[in-house]
Symmetry: C2
């Protein structure tokens, strides 16, 4: 074997041991003479190999003290899961939408324009905060969050046929944080979690952060395919299923009663817990079936937040679940964020929700969204972009691009012109939505959107 080959062999041997954790980070490498003898090579070959490994950062040399295994750089979240074209990475749309310049159009984002939010009510709530008790402004809050807001949410649940006491409501730092806490409680690394395919892209990023195995269930116009859901539950024995039933994200579809019933039976048969993220419920013209209400919180945990209807800036979400789970979630929330929701945030939310104008605001919002949905559908139709279905409410249109164009390529082209889009595959665990695109009809008022979209569609495929 040539000298170079021998050196490479020594390097491979060491790298193998480090990869197999046979050499822990910081551990001293075998002595040069010892390894040379063991591998039947010359000491100089081992020295050469160690020095090349040091140059590659695989090992570290400490003058006078020898060579040590370096610790690998911590994996990024993208590396935890399969590496993806950043344009179809679930985090891509989040980062672009959150960090993009405020004035650029973002039909790919998941929120309403500031002008559509109840700003006057929020300013009144802020002035109310300035007059609140000292403790509200200065102290940690109760671990469940303030009772008045929990009472209000419990009454809201009762109105939807879900009878709960305020102690079954836990306020959290956001809807996403609520799901994160539930994953800490119910999901171990390597556990399987079911999601809809397509589903809200951040469900994938969140579950990836928990090192869960994510399995998608094909979504139909009436909800997840109940047959395939039962199959997936039987095959993969998932710990959890995460979904939003009211105005499903991204499709805007509505769960049909018969599908809900079959889902719950399959979940019971295979002991799958369910997180029902109800964040879009306030946008429904009339309530659709709720898994939490049908199940009575036996295995369903209901999640909500105010980010879509009130403010995404005041971070506040909530969990509604059976009492023993709430207790365990409180411990986890104390351990990981000390205390619960920000009392200041809860005060602002309660103030704005209690504001006489809030109901009116929601009604106006629904009417405004109906108009925007029709207009957006017409303008998209002009480009040959057609919705998969016409949602009953909310602000999403899940569309098919003409001629099966590659949505990721279109999104990249549009971004170069300063428009953030949401290509279909970021929502699809199976990456079978490559020519789909989610449009936020409330973010398409900007005159630049349609022309830029038209040009992006015209860019020849790579």
């Amino acid at each position: 074997m040539a000298e170079g080959g021998r050196t490479a062999a020594v390097m491979a041997a060491i790298q193998g041991r480090i990869a197999a954790r046979g050499l822990a980070p910081g551990e001293r490498l075998p002595s040069i003479r010892g390894l040379a003898t063991a591998l039947g090579v010359s000491p100089s070959t081992v020295v050469e190999a160690y020095e090349r490994l040091a140059a590659e950062g695989v090992v570290r040399s400490r003058p006078g003290s020898g060579f040590y295994a370096a610790s690998p750089a911590p994996p990024t979240l993208a590396e935890i899961g399969p590496r993806l074209d950043r344009a179809v990475d679930p985090l891509w749309v989040s980062r672009q939408s959150l960090d993009g310049e405020p004035e650029i159009p973002k039909p790919g984002c998941g929120w309403l324009p500031a002008a559509w939010m109840p700003v006057a009510a929020l300013r009144r709530a802020a002035r109310g905060l300035a007059r609140a008790e000292d403790a509200v402004l200065t102290d940690y809050g109760a671990t469940r969050g303030p009772l008045p807001l929990r009472r209000l949410l419990a009454r809201q649940c009762a109105g939807e046929g879900l009878a709960v006491g305020p102690d079954q409501v836990l306020l959290t730092g956001s809807g996403t944080q609520a799901i994160d806490l539930i994953c800490r409680l119910l999901v171990r690394p390597g556990d399987t979690v079911l999601v809809d395919d397509p589903c809200y892209f951040n469900f994938q990023a969140l579950l990836r952060a928990h090192r869960a195995k994510v399995v998608g269930v094909p979504y139909t116009e009436a909800g997840p395919d109940p047959e395939l859901f039962a199959q997936a539950a039987a095959t993969h024995r998932p710990r959890l299923y995460v979904t939003n039933s009211a105005l499903h994200n991204p499709t805007g579809a509505t769960l049909a009663p018969a599908v809900a019933h079959r889902l719950l039976n399959a979940a019971a048969a295979h002991d799958v817990r369910i997180v029902e993220d109800d964040i879009f419920a306030p946008f429904e013209p009339e309530p659709s079936p709720r898994l939490a209400a049908l199940d009575g919180l036996e295995r369903v945990i209901r999640i909500g937040s105010f980010s879509k209807t009130l403010s995404a800036s005041i971070r506040c979400g909530y969990v509604v679940a059976k009492a023993e789970w709430i207790e365990a979630l409180i411990d986890l929330q104390v351990a990981t964020s000390f205390g619960g929701v920000s009392p200041v945030a809860a005060e602002l939310v309660a103030g704005a929700l209690g504001d006489g104008q809030y109901r009116k605001h929601l009604d106006a919002l629904r009417r405004r969204l109906d108009r925007a949905r029709r207009e957006a559908a017409e303008r998209l139709a002009g480009l040959g972009i057609r919705p998969w279905l016409m949602p009953r409410g909310g602000f999403y249109l899940w569309c098919t691009l003409p001629g099966d164009r590659d949505a990721a390529a279109v999104a990249r082209a549009a971004l170069r012109e300063g428009v953030v889009l949401a290509p279909g595959d970021v929502f699809s665990v199976s990456h079978t939505a490559g020519s789909r695109m989610r449009f936020n009809v409330a973010q398409m008022g900007d005159a630049r959107v349609i022309p830029i979209l038209e040009r992006a569609l015209a860019v020849p495929e790579a």
Copy 2:
């Protein structure tokens, strides 16, 4: 073997298989006839065993379809780690302090009374919020948090000899959430993490939530014992060391320069990353050595928050770290709480920090705490309770009870009279602080505290 014994044997066999995951949750139990033959018992014995297991909730019977392994109830955080007397469970003090009635004295808690906080500045900040741009009140914020506040924190770091740009500052939902994000990035279940013994009790709860192996390093009046730190680093190959160097919690001790230097060398030798929680730094009369500044953020990550000096109700913390780690932390924060810090919270913090009165408030706070510390030490001395050392600042006194009284028993007795104390062992990984107690000198103004403490000390040991 008697019938009862045979039934018990069958039950044990099934429970064993479930425990060993030989029977996954939801999986069907062996057929009654089959198992009867296999175990050489009568089918009726198996039926009896299955029904008892169903009664115990270990298995579930589905009419007409047989018996299935039930899924275990999710483990509570207390169960993840070793089960502890709740009174010395790290979460005990948190829950008692956070959920105890507002008016009861809490010398065991970790914050200042509302009356000591800059309430006027906070009210001004709230009125400022009412006049903020619409987007501040309604929208998700940039993933790093607003630039002005990050610039302010970067300047503050520079003032402490830590040269960083604003892009190396990441705002988070709280100081604890900052450490939680770092654990998500750097700690895997089963990894070892070093903490001080004693240390802030919630470090243990947080690390337990990450399923880390927590190893304590004995803490001296000059910081962690550097010899034992190096030994622990060599023996346990920890991924991380979590500490607070400025006014250490609970001891109030200060890290000595020579110890800091030796710590960093040992950490480098064994490639240990360090989280330096600087939350008490503003209470120092003059700055003490900072690991982050000495190390230049090579392996040290600096954490801070405003909960102790400004408001614990406005949840806002921050991370200062090397650029590539910040990038990875942003992805994790987006995935697990969508977006970063609440823009409303950041606006309130920036408003109050920018308030001309804030510096004066800190100076007054330090003087007031010096007085309170002297007074508390005198009153405790009257009960034979002596501080381990007299801290340079901050609000903690780490004390020894007279006659080695059991601090947990004293805390339980005091709680019966409505006073929340912090018994030593909640801070001690090795549970070697059984007769120690942490007192918050700012929370001892209430006339009930000393008499109740005296009575609690007089309660005969169980």
